[in-house]
Amino acid sequence: MTLAAIAARVIFSYLFLLLIVRVSGKRTVRQVTPIDFTASIIAGDLIDDLLWAEVPASQAVVAVGTLLSLAILITMGTQVSPTLERWVSGRPEVMIRGGEWVKGSLRRERLEKSELLGLVREQGIDDLREIETATLETTGQLGICPRPWAREAQKCDLVRVRQRGEAEA
């Protein structure tokens, strides 16, 4: 296998994969759903076979095209069927409510307490009492709703304080 042939296959694979992922509809790959995750693992293996000429390029192209088409069809299915969406993507899990751990949530998500605390700290919170709810989304990200007293001050809060001060004066 010549070096030039390897380079040609890498260039073709990269451009093909980049183009097909781009047109498959996702504007960003930051939030990976189980559908994307599964498809990307299989696509990686298919492209590996192509790079090392274990299969003709046409077979790899058909396989990747079929894989991404299937991923799109399943995504379309989840948009019309909540049951399919729950089955494929799971459902958001509330991990912390009212500053307390929700019983069994860590076990259900197979997470360590330290891992979740790390996700909480990444959002600038180091005291669980500040949290109204912390929800592990289906994308794997943690969505946090702080308690009203722990929310960052808004412009309207300052206006209210000023009005109160003026009234007292």
Partner: protein, 145 residues
Amino acid sequence: MRSLLQVLLVTAAALGLLAGIVFGLGDRTIFVSPPEAVAEQFMRKVETERFGQALDHLESSLQQQVSEEGLRRGMEALERRHGPFSDVRGEFLSIEGDEASASAVLTTSAGGEVPLRFRLKRSQGSWEISDVTSLTGAEGELTRR
């Protein structure tokens, strides 16, 4: 629906491009599996006893002549002679027009190497093995259906 159509369009365009390269420009080693890769895949499947899949690498006329049992017996004969094998790799030998030869080098558990030479023919753009006597000959003669 639009993204699905676009994926199918990109797939079709890529296939068209590959068809142009393989059939129009006569590519024999870049976007088709080169002869040594075909020989390696064939022997890898024989070695792991996936004989049905191994037969897919043979020319259609040869598929009529060679049986899965023939491949099994050939492999068993090789193992009796050289001991069990631990790996296989393909080696390029030559390409002349639509014919090529390549070898699959089997590595024995003791570290020795057993090269098996195969002839291949190009059919519909891809390489197919046209002669397996180096394998089936190990058992004595080609097992026919």
